[in-house]
Symmetry: C2
Subunit: 316 residues, 2 copies
């Protein structure tokens, strides 16, 4: 059997045909064009699915199920999207609408949950019992697998690790609260910290890399400058990695999973990031003598969205 995975984003959507091993055979993309009726978006989604199926040389009869990763939350029982801010969706009957086009079981879950599920099913955390996936991008998303099952909480509000408070009355977050983890651990946070540092000490390699225009600072520029040994960039990176270490310790002190997987743009810092976390983590652990969760980099990159969505059907 084959599984269809949809990665539904605010700008693009992609459909892929995924095999039992979790490999993508074919992929079709189209712009999401946010703002139009959801029925039109779903119609294009169905067209992408058919294109990907056709390219794979399989038929609809070979398809086990369709999974959709959304930048929001869904009700697993009803198949409705509860809330999806990037698409301005509230209470949308996504499963029913998809099934008007293609009559297969449809599963919907949050995009970070889906990416974590992909790493668990076909990536770096395969074989773990319990793992937490953190995506360090514009925000901080998370996907949690407990005892081999996706964890969404009793009411669908779980795994919002980007919105755990780590600084009471701290930086303002898009969610309306202050001091959320994602204000300190996202790529956006590195950029903010770098701008603060560059405003104070402008003679540094970050500023040279972005031609003196602070608006061009991104996480990669800061991390590259830190890797090259620039003092200001190292200060910024150390500040960022301290917060990330604290966020990781919060995961350990709460759940103590087998593995913590880091994905998203910042994770491309690679061993440089892992080494910084490992060097500081000992200062925060409650039980420093106990064995630690393995902390690893995500393996599937951007494909995790399609693979994880597709393999939602395998959980059922």
């Amino acid at each position: 059997m084959y599984y269809i995975g949809i990665d539904l984003g605010g700008t693009h959507m992609a459909a892929g045909v995924v095999n039992e091993e979790g490999a993508i055979l074919t992929k079709a993309e189209t712009p999401t064009l946010v703002g139009r009726p959801y029925q039109d978006i779903v119609r294009d989604m169905a067209a992408c699915i058919r294109t990907a199926i056709g390219q794979a040389g399989i038929s609809e009869a070979d398809v086990h199920s369709i999974g959709i990763g959304i930048p929001g939350i869904a009700d697993q029982k009803t198949g409705r999207v509860i809330f999806c801010p990037n698409l301005s969706w509230r209470d949308i009957p996504l499963r029913d609408e998809v099934q008007k086009h293609i009559d297969k079981p449809v599963f919907i879950d949050n995009d970070a949950t889906v990416a974590g599920w992909a790493e668990y099913q076909a990536g770096v955390s395969r074989g773990c019992n319990t793992c937490v996936f953190l995506t360090l991008g514009t925000g901080v998303g998370a996907g949690i697998v407990i005892n081999g099952r996706i964890w969404s909480g009793a009411h669908g509000a779980a795994t919002e690790l980007g919105h755990l408070t780590i600084e009471v009355d701290g930086e303002m977050c898009n969610c309306g609260k202050r001091g959320c983890t994602e204000r300190y651990c996202s790529a956006t946070a590195i950029i903010r910290m770098a701008k603060e540092a560059c405003a104070q000490q402008p003679d540094n390699s970050i500023m040279r890399k972005c031609g003196g225009d602070m608006n061009k600072i991104n996480a990669k520029i800061v991390i590259d400058a830190a890797k090259e040994g620039d003092d200001v960039a190292k200060q910024v990176f150390n500040r960022y990695s301290k917060y990330l270490t604290i966020a990781i310790n919060n995961i350990i002190s709460f759940l103590d999973p087998d593995m913590i997987v880091l994905g998203g743009g910042v994770s491309h810092a690679g061993a440089f990031l892992l080494d910084a976390i490992k060097a500081q983590l000992g200062d925060y652990l409650v039980f420093p003598t106990l064995e630690l969760p393995r902390i690893a980099l995500a393996q599937l990159g951007n494909n995790a969205g399609i693979i994880g969505a597709a393999l939602l059907g395998r959980q059922q």
Copy 2:
């Protein structure tokens, strides 16, 4: 069958005979007398067990198992206490030592975990699937039940919710880190906040209740004064309940359990505390329209230690 539960504390230990319904039939206590060899402490523990069994009019053959709640952590597989600071125990073969006296299955777990298990088995959270118990006392302990099973994490380091960071570089904690939740949400935290407030505005009802001696301030005095409407006490209580609300939102955003149960000394504030949390929680939720975990007061009080320890045997 009957279950033996031991509540092993730094000053006293108590053994109880517990029936299938989770009720304590008989209880025997003795001082722990920390500092002597663990073999002597276990010998007295066995004597307490025999006393409680005798008083209950049952025989050892009627006993299913022995459970022990400790103020520390244990290895479930080996039955060894890994670390128990109040008793100065490190790597103690507690199960083996108990079985030298009474040859029954022995289960050992953290005291907060055990109290949460008691509430789940025989108290307020009975019938829940997933629940988090928080004990608000000298420190903040927690017990987590996920899908009807005690959660200890992959390496035994989980459920240390008192040591999640909620204020980076905040108040110094006994664990050696700064900004731990228990520095803001324990009874100790209320006392600290009250002392700070009384130093600035000494003309208040807290000071009158403790005869002008700040060293006599305790959580009950502050809460009573706040209930009576004293402005300074209300400020302190509002500050405390804000932090507790943030800690509770961190639990919701991470795990979203069916129920969150509050125990320990501060929970005796009752509906006054629950109302304060519920009034503020909406400001912190990521998804305010979703159904919330029920937030409730613990029912079993000090008996939770014996009941929960006893019923550890029921999980196996």
